[in-house]
Symmetry: C2
Subunit: 225 residues, 2 copies
């Protein structure tokens, strides 16, 4: 058991494997080899074996993995055998879309509350989930046993909202606001920066320009700045 050293990239892949296995199970399959799994879902078979080996020996040589058993194991490893109670802060378009997405996309997560500062939204429901006042975050979070906070707020308010969330004892935060956040050591922060993702595609598209050195306008000087 080497879970202490498991990287986020590995757990991300375990999450993908789990969904692929669900798909195979839905299709009536009972066993699958790492090669067949890799081929069916554009994955890397050596990587699958390596990732799973971190947690034990789940397969049988010549047979492959028992899909049912591997799903149970991955579900356990990812801590998904109990539904995680999630709130979304920011009931704008992105927050509402995320609420709808997580409500409709499976049973591992339960969106139990939305929060906003807009009095027009507070008390209303989005996809059957009530919108609460951010001012009442701590009380609602405690009552609703919220474990994960998803931040879909503007950049300028993200840090202060994160502080409120951490003050209420939440240990897992997913941040969609396009700004780096400072969190306590015992809080796990996951950033999904929708702008950065597009910027990195732009960098790729700009590849043709890059080779001609057009953008190089160094100021001179050097050393530690």
């Amino acid at each position: 058991m080497k879970s202490e050293k498991i990287s986020e990239l590995t757990t991300n892949r375990l999450s993908v494997y789990l969904r692929c296995l669900k798909d195979l199970a839905d299709g009536g399959h009972e066993t699958v080899s790492s090669e067949a799994l890799a081929k069916a879902y554009n994955l890397n078979s050596a990587q699958i074996r390596k990732d799973l080996a971190n947690f034990g020996e789940f397969g049988v040589r010549g047979v492959g993995y028992c899909i049912k058993s591997l799903r149970e194991n991955l579900t356990d490893i990812l801590g998904l055998n109990s539904r995680r109670r999630v709130c979304i802060i920011g009931a704008g378009r992105l927050g509402a879309a995320l609420a709808n997405y997580y409500i409709s996309s499976g049973k591992n997560f339960e969106v139990v509350a939305l929060f906003d500062v807009d009095q027009q939204k507070i008390g209303k429901k989005i996809s059957d989930v009530e919108v609460f006042d951010v001012k009442d975050f701590a009380a609602v979070a405690k009552r609703a046993k919220i474990e994960v906070a998803v931040l879909a707020v503007p950049a300028e308010s993200a840090q202060s909202i994160a502080d409120v969330v951490m003050g209420a004892g939440i240990k897992a935060v997913m941040n969609f606001a396009p700004v780096p956040l400072k969190v306590c050591e015992d809080v796990k922060l996951k950033t999904v920066d929708l702008t950065t993702s597009l910027d990195s595609l732009s960098y790729y598209l700009a590849g043709a320009d890059r080779s001609n050195g057009k953008h190089m306008k160094p100021n001179g000087g050097g050393g530690r700045i």
Copy 2:
């Protein structure tokens, strides 16, 4: 110039620096040291210097970076000096929220078209952007000079849509569908998996359970599976 070796993590950080510099410029600042930049935005000053050193020497010792000049350089490096023309495929809640988000969040990207298969949506507008029939993708993409395709479609149709997108010559794809995609070598794929992100938070929350080995149910056997 070492741009060939620049990782996506580096370009992601450049994108963050660029937004932080905009914020500083908006606040009336003209120069900033790597330390001050790091402190103000929860970044790492050594990382900033290392990242920027990939592209030249942009700062002056004892003075820091000229914000205006560094912004111009980063904008050039990321290929953001011309607006990138983006389409979003899937005009459901997530697609609509992304359209709205990218339209309102800056001028680097222009959402020029949405696509869907739902005849009820085709011909309508979302945030002033027309929804086209996916069947007409190639023609619309050519006419609208689309460079980037954002996929906000269900998992089961993501690969076939990606094939249509690549068939139309698009070289940059951002995929929100929770499924691994196979793309041509010359196509840059960026995956934003909203489910995986939550799963990795769940893995963190499950940390307390992990140490007691409850989830270990290896099947025995071993070797290559």
